[in-house]
Structure formats: C-alpha cells, structure tokens
C-alpha cells in the first residue's frame, strides 16, 4: 500500500490531471457533484454522497447520439467519434462503485451500448472508503463493504494520510504514472483501525437491519399484488427526484431536436414515475401513480434480480432517502413489505 499526506492531496490531483482529466466530488453553489478538477475547484471529500452520482460521467443526463442532415430526399447520419478521452474519477464511494457494476449489466450486455462502453473503457475509477457513514446508508444489506470499496484503485483517508492501493491493471497503470507523489506505507494500522471503527458504526445505523429475504423468496406476482403498495405510494408527488439522484436508475428517452441547421437525436434520463413514460397513442398501461411507484421498486428489487443472477439494482447509497420531497424511499418500501431481521 502507498500513502501521501492528506495536506498534499492537491499534488495528487494535479499529478493525475497532468495526464488525464480528473473528476471528483466538488461543492458548487449550494450543491455537490462530480466535476472536473482544476486548481480553483472546491473539492469536498467529507461529503458522503454527491447529489447526483458519478453515473453522469458514463450515462450523462443528456447525450447527443447522432446528427441527421437532410438534403432533398437524402438523409445522412453523422455519429460522434467512438473514442473517448481517458479520464480518472476519484472519490467514488463503495455504493457508487457497485452502482457502476449494475449499470454495466444493462449497458454492456448484448447488444452493447457503445456510448456507455466508450466512456467506461476510458475511465479509471478510484474509490474512497467511508469513514463516517450516515443514518441513510444501507449498502451493507446489499453485501457492499463501505470500508473496502472495489474499483481500479481503493483509497482510505485515515489519520491525515491518504492510503492508496491499486486493484486492477488500470489501477496499476495509473499508480505507476504518478508514483512520485507517494511514499510506501509501512504501517497501515490506521486503515485497519478505521475499518473496524466504521464497521461498528454501520452495525448501529438504523437501516442496517433491513432484510431482503421477502424479495428473494417470494413470487414476483405475489409481491406485485401486495396490498401494501396502496398505502406506500399515497404521498408520492410523481416527481423524478428519486430517479435522477439514483446511481442505478438508467431508463432513458430518445428524442429529436431540430437545431435549425440539422437534427440532433439525443437521449436523456427518463423516469418511470412520470405519467408520460409509458403513454402511447393506443393508451396507458400504468394509469395511476400507484402503478408507476410500484414499477420503480419492483424493477429494483424483483425484476432486475430476476434477470441478473439475483443482483438488486439498489446499492443503499441513501440519496433517495435524503432527497425525496415527501420522504418516501426504498428503505420504507423494503421495511413495509419485507420487515427486518
């Protein structure tokens, strides 16, 4: 394991961004997000979760897919270059690392989404272990270890040092390119102590006892038909906050936009919470907010696992827990339907 003094983080960021673009959690204008690093950037590694997850870097909220030109009867299609500049994402929490694996299952399964794939290939992900989990955290119930995040490189901020450990070839390559900023960490007891400490905290968190057995052991249709949905959805405003702050929600819309000098076909995030999501000329299969609300949670807790070897498409990051305007969230749904240990 390598390390560098926490007050030299700027040196690390500057070294990384000498070769590649660097994205990391920044505070800006009363909000937080993963943004490009520069010397003026207000980096915040204390905040547990940015408002929007790093999903944006691989699957942007809005992305141009192609351009069309029409000349007389002729149509030509122009597509953006498939190559994406290599970049590094630093400070990704264990839950968000897992969320990228969830997105991989969608976008990298056949037929591969090359827009996602090119960004994914270009990225080196550096994770940051959690040192102070919050009450909205429940990644542990999905088997995620907040103290031992996966990714290309794992890091820990403990006792005024950043500890750095490459986990993949990509991670080794990045480490090699900036190795002059590090020193060898002979003693890693600070990391071990932090891990132990954080694990004890996680035990005490109010959501860490949530139980997923109900979703694992019951039939899809029984869960779908549960009477609990009638009460659960009641306060839902039908907004898209939970969807858009969610690191794994990946539904999208494709639309055309006439720029006045050619047509752009773009895709953008969409939400199954919106009434027009399934609306078509022939009718509306999900007529009420109850059905739309149910769809979102059925997808994460039942449909997705059925199609993906039992993997849930929730990572317990707690963003929806913190951001729902009327404080509904997946934890409430899990508890109401399935209870806890």
């Amino acid at each position: 394991m390598l390390r560098l003094s926490a007050d030299k983080l700027d040196k690390l960021f500057s070294a990384i961004s000498d070769a590649k673009e660097l994205y990391l959690p920044v505070e800006e204008n009363g909000s937080s997000k993963f943004d490009k690093w520069s010397e003026e950037t207000q980096v915040n590694l204390n905040r547990l979760n940015t408002v929007k997850s790093p999903k944006d870097l691989f699957f942007p909220q809005s992305e141009d897919l192609m351009r069309f030109k029409k000349e007389g009867k002729k149509i030509t299609v122009d597509t953006p270059d498939e190559n994406c500049k290599e970049f590094v994402v630093f400070g990704v929490r264990a839950c968000d690392v897992k969320s990228i694996e969830v997105l991989d299952r969608v976008f990298l399964s056949e037929p591969v989404d090359t827009y996602y794939e090119s960004k994914r290939k270009a990225a080196t992900i550096v994770s940051l272990a959690c040192s102070e989990p919050e009450e909205s955290c429940f990644c542990n119930i999905f088997g995620i270890d907040a103290t031992e995040p996966a990714a290309d490189v794992s890091t820990w901020l403990a006792d005024d040092y950043l500890y750095w450990e490459a986990k993949t070839e990509k991670g080794e390559a990045l480490t090699e390119s900036i190795k002059s900023v590090f020193e060898q960490a002979e003693d890693t007891s600070a990391v071990d102590a932090q891990k132990e400490n954080v694990k004890a905290i996680i035990e005490k968190l109010p959501l860490s006892g949530l139980n997923l057995d109900y979703f694992k052991n019951n039939d899809m249709m029984d869960i779908f038909n549960s009477e609990k949905w009638d009460e659960l959805y009641e306060a839902c405003l039908g907004c898209g906050t939970c969807t858009f702050v969610c690191p794994t929600c990946q539904c999208y819309d494709i639309r055309d936009y006439d720029t006045g000098h050619g047509i752009v076909r773009y895709r953008c995030w969409d939400s199954c919470m919106y009434s027009d999501f399934t609306l078509m000329a022939g009718g509306q299969p999900r007529t009420t907010q109850k059905e739309r609300f149910r769809q979102r949670f059925m997808h994460k807790l039942v449909y997705f696992p059925m199609n993906n070897d039992g993997e849930f498409s929730c990572v317990g990051c707690g963003r929806c827990v913190n951001k729902c305007p009327v404080r509904l969230n997946i934890a409430k749904v899990i508890r109401a339907l399935g209870g806890e240990v």
């Binding site: 204008n29 009363g30 909000s31 547990l48 408002v51 929007k52 909220q61 809005s62 102070e132 989990p133 919050e134 009450e135 909205s136 905290i201 005490k204 968190l205 109010p206 959501l207 009641e234 306060a235 405003l237 039908g238 907004c239 898209g240 906050t241 969807t243 858009f244 702050v245 819309d253 639309r255 936009y257 720029t259 752009v264 773009y266 953008c268 995030w269 969409d270 939400s271 919106y274 009434s275 027009d276 609306l279 827990v321 951001k323 305007p325 009327v326 404080r327 509904l328 969230n329 934890a331 409430k332 508890r335």
Partner: protein, 321 residues
C-alpha cells in the same frame, strides 16, 4: 402535539369527517410524510418537522367520497383558498383544523452543520437534543429553521373550520421577504443573468417544484404533453431548464401564495421562490397589494384588466433602470 391528536380524535368521533389528512412518521425521527388516516391514528404527528404543505393533496382527497379533515399550518391555508377559487377542490368536502406553527426545522440544515448518523431528536424549548451514532449533539432550533419559515406571512390562518389557538410565544426573528429580491434588483443585469444562469443550470428536471406547487394544478402540464413540442425531460439546449422555470414562474404569477415549497423540495437547492417573489413584488407595485389565497373569492390582478393597467412598455422601462 398531543392537543392536536386529541382534537383530531374528537372531531372524527363527532363525525365531521371520515378520515384525516395529516403528517405521518416515517423511517427517521425527522420524516413527516403526508398521509391519510381513518380509524387508526397511529403515526399521526404534528411537530417541528411537519413542513410539507398538505393543501395540494386535497385535490385527490376531495375526489373521493365523504369528507376529509385536514390539518393546516398558516402558510398552507393560502393554498387551500387558491385551490377552492380555482375549482380544484370542493370546500364542502373538507373540514379544516388550523394548527399553530412556530416555524419548521430543516433537516438538511442540521446535517449541513456536520451532524451525521442521527438516531433520535428531542426538542426541549429551543434546544434540539440529537442522539447520533457518533454521540450526543445539541443545536438551537432557531439556527436550522426552514428558509421558507424565516420570511413567512405570519401566524394567521386564512381559512379554517376550527382552530387550535397558539399558546407559544413567537420568538423567531423574521426577515423581510423581499430582502433577497432587492439584493437581486441591486445587481447589474449581467450579474443578475449570471446569478440565475448558475442557479437554474443546476436543475435536473425532476419536476418536484412543479408537482408540489399548489398553484400548479393543471390536469396535464404543457411540459408533460409531447404534442406541444416543448415537453422535455432534459436540456436539448443549454437554456432549456432556464426556460422551464421562467415559464412556470409566469404561469403562477398572481397565483403563487409564496408557501416556499418549491425551494424546500428542490434537490439542488435552487432558490426558486425568489423568482416568484419578484413577480409578487412587481404585481404589488403595479396593481396594488395582493396576496394570492388570502381569500377564495377576490379576482387575481392578472385575470382581469382595467384601463389604468400598466402597458407592456413597462417591461422596457423597468429593464432600462
């Protein structure tokens, strides 16, 4: 709090309504979710965290049979009048219990103060005693009040059937609600443009502001109607989300009750209420003082005209200032 529950029990027992729309405890000690209770009042809660405006839920509730008892804070009661005036809800199907308010606490502000891992919160006078997994913390509630409460219209309920009188002394120092608007007005046009561009560009098009707004009660919003060509969930060009908010502000002009919910629910902390307040200020100056939702009958200043009304060139003249 207990007074409120007792009163609700009494009213339901008297048969004024067959159910009650109130706040329900949720996952965390600060979660207060709008909810309907019938016989079992378990979980009904009214306290410092009951910030959600319940008025808009009455649109759906009054479509159902029977009569609903609803708890109303002073600021929410304006929304009820507005919805009655706009024929969105049927007054006959509602029984309003006015509940006193001494400002609500913003959990985000508590967390922004560095408090994490909250397990329990107790209120003793102005002191919030917060039990966390990282130990016991204390905060003065006056430092973490919702922004919307700091410059609210006061403690007056504008519509109710029954009222629970306020027995607490108001000890919150309020700010003039137009103070921030005046700060914006004092900026140069370039600064102001830059301010709004940077704020509105944070928008993620979640529609929470619209969906929570008691003045946004169209059956189908133009932004949800794909046939209009303006429906967009994202930003086809970089000004699109700016336009969404500007158009929405125009649409609720003269109807916005200034309940502050739009800013409270915004996941990106955009001060949306400032757009609406600017409109309120302009309307007050051009057409005389008007408070939307003050009553359920007065015609709004932008829904009729007189020969003395401002001419469109007022925009040009104001813009020059």
């Amino acid at each position: 709090m207990q007074r409120v529950i007792d009163k609700v029990k009494e009213l339901l027992a008297n048969g004024v309504a067959d159910r009650v729309l109130a706040w329900k405890v949720g996952e965390f000690p600060y979660d207060r979710i709008p909810g309907v209770f019938k016989d079992d009042l378990d979980g009904l809660c009214y306290d410092s965290f009951s910030a959600c405006n319940l008025s808009k839920y009455l649109i759906n509730e009054t479509k159902k049979d029977g009569r609903v008892l609803v708890l109303m804070k002073p600021c929410d009661s304006y929304g009820v009048n507005l919805l009655i005036k706009e024929h969105r809800i049927d007054r006959e199907k509602i029984y309003i219990l006015a509940v006193p308010c001494n400002c609500k606490v913003d959990i985000e502000k508590i967390k922004d103060s560095g408090i994490k891992g909250i397990i329990d919160i107790a209120e003793e006078g102005d002191v919030l005693k917060i039990n966390t997994v990282y130990g016991q913390k204390e905060l003065d509630r006056r430092q973490v009040l919702c922004d919307k409460c700091l410059s609210c219209q006061g403690k007056k309920h504008v519509i109710y059937d029954e009222i629970i009188e306020d027995d607490e002394q108001q000890n919150i120092e309020k700010t003039d609600r137009m103070e921030a608007v005046e700060e914006l007005e004092a900026m140069s046009p370039e600064e102001r443009f830059a301010f709004w561009r940077s704020e509105l560009s944070k928008c993620i098009r979640c529609n929470a502001c619209r969906n929570v707004c008691p003045a946004c009660s169209c059956n189908k919003c133009i932004f949800d109607n794909t046939d209009t060509g303006v429906a967009a969930k994202s930003n086809a060009d970089s000004f699109e989300e700016n336009m969404f908010h500007i158009i929405r502000a125009f649409h609720v002009a003269g109807r916005c009750t200034d309940c502050g919910e739009c800013s409270r629910v915004c996941p990106q902390n955009i001060p949306l209420h400032l757009l609406n307040r600017k409109f309120i200020k302009e309307i007050n100056e051009l057409y005389g003082e008007f408070q939307a939702g003050e009553d359920a009958v007065t015609t709004g200043p932008l829904t009729f005209f007189t020969m003395e009304d401002a001419e469109p060139d007022v925009v040009y003249k104001k813009g020059r200032d």
